[in-house]
Symmetry: C2
Subunit: 230 residues, 2 copies
DNA sequence: ACAAAAGTGTTAGGCCTACACCCATGA
DNA sequence: TCATGGGTGTAGGCCTAACACTTTTGT
């Protein structure tokens, strides 16, 4: 008991930051999980995360843990809910501030740190540690809410992408199907897409046109907020 | 030092729950503050709130503290952000989960507990304790986001209200002016308002028509979500 | 008598939705 | 040659935004 050296007049909960990391492979949404190496829930899959240090905010903690456990250096990690059920951790009272981030799936391929990290799609999810299944459900809800008002979708796509890919992304997140023609014109109206290169005139209607997004317009739209009526 | 009886292997932050309580007096938005009786920030105004106990979630804590300090028993206290800057409390590391609630201003009039509680409008705010001014700004942002998608506004109004009052409420929260005629028809289209009583025919165009809201339609709309294009 | 507050309806424009056809490729 | 995937444009309906007049009351 000699190592219990941090003492308080009243009981204090432990506080952690967890990261729900979403990716997109062109077809379906993926989530990044880490296989736990220690008890409790040893060998179960869980979100990257860990205990908040006394010299960092929970957001800083989330970014640090994310980097340590997956090698990801994502600028936009954002908290979305704090889970505080009394018995959510068998060790002691732990309150977790849950964050999410949208990343390009290619960014997390390499790295030895990421040995235990793996992308899962929703129809092949393993059982999760702690209350992480609940955290995932809430994260999904929040993402759905956001995607209609901020062009967050693009953070999930590679630099260059096709219109069908973009549509797949929206359909995968929102769980609905759109009319291709309406989706195209809606996106064009936003004026954040720039066509990449030229399609040799008349030579192909089968290979999709490539786009990248216009960073200026994109940032502007993101600040101003927008309204996607899906 | 004998009373430092809660000891841990690693340092733990303290965790509090704070409540930003919004009210509406028919003209402007008010916020409920409590004058602190103890250091730090003694005599400064702050949001109701306090330390999370080990046998309650942060939401339960928020409700409990709200009741203890203001006599309010509000069903719908909702967390909106967790503030964790390292030095936000001079005593020790304190992370606070901030909540908000919308209440009818009449519900908090009586009660001795509320002796130190007082409603303030935004143009006469006193200096706030801790980082509560920042918390207030974030709360306002979140409320603005919500009011366009959930009919939360009605929770701020008395049972029976007039259309101008309702419009004032929306204008006060969103900080913009609406065309009266467009606002009226938009509200009518939602079909959640029921006219109260009868206006003696032809006898008055100066006193406003009274409405209450239809709880069934209101709940339905709240679940389904809606879209107010202001 | 005049200013201020409350009530009401119409029109034009923009956005959303639904929908059909052509071209190219690969089986 | 046929099925599949990609690209494009149009017409109708709904919602939004702009806008004017009448009544009443209080000063």
């Amino acid at each position: 008991m000699e190592d219990l050296k941090y003492c308080y007049k009243y009981p204090h909960p432990a506080v952690t930051a967890d990261c729900v990391i979403f990716g997109f492979d062109g077809v379906s949404i993926k989530v990044l999980l880490i296989q736990r190496g220690i008890e409790p829930y040893k060998d179960r899959w869980a979100f990257p995360g860990g205990f908040v240090r006394m010299d960092e905010s929970v957001e800083e903690c989330a970014k640090r843990e994310l980097f340590e456990e997956t090698g990801l250096k994502s600028a936009s990690v954002e908290q979305f809910y704090t889970f505080s059920d009394v018995n959510r951790d068998p060790r002691e009272r732990v309150i977790t501030v849950a964050h999410y981030a949208l990343v390009k799936i290619s960014e997390v391929c390499g790295g030895d740190d990421a040995a235990r990290a793996q992308w899962f799609s929703f129809d092949e999810l393993p059982p999760l540690a702690f209350d992480h299944d609940r955290i995932l459900r809430v994260a999904l809800t929040k993402i759905k809410e956001r995607i209609c008002f901020e062009p967050i979708g693009f953070e999930l796509l590679p630099e260059v992408f096709t219109m069908p890919e973009l549509q797949n992304l929206y359909e995968a997140i929102l769980g609905v199907k759109f009319d291709r023609r309406n989706f195209y014109s809606k996106m064009r109206k936003l004026e954040i897409l720039t066509q990449v290169g030229e399609r040799p005139a008349g030579t192909s209607s089968r290979i999709p046109i490539l786009y990248r997004f216009n960073p200026t317009k994109y940032a502007e739209l993101k600040n101003r907020g927008f309204r996607l009526e899906f």
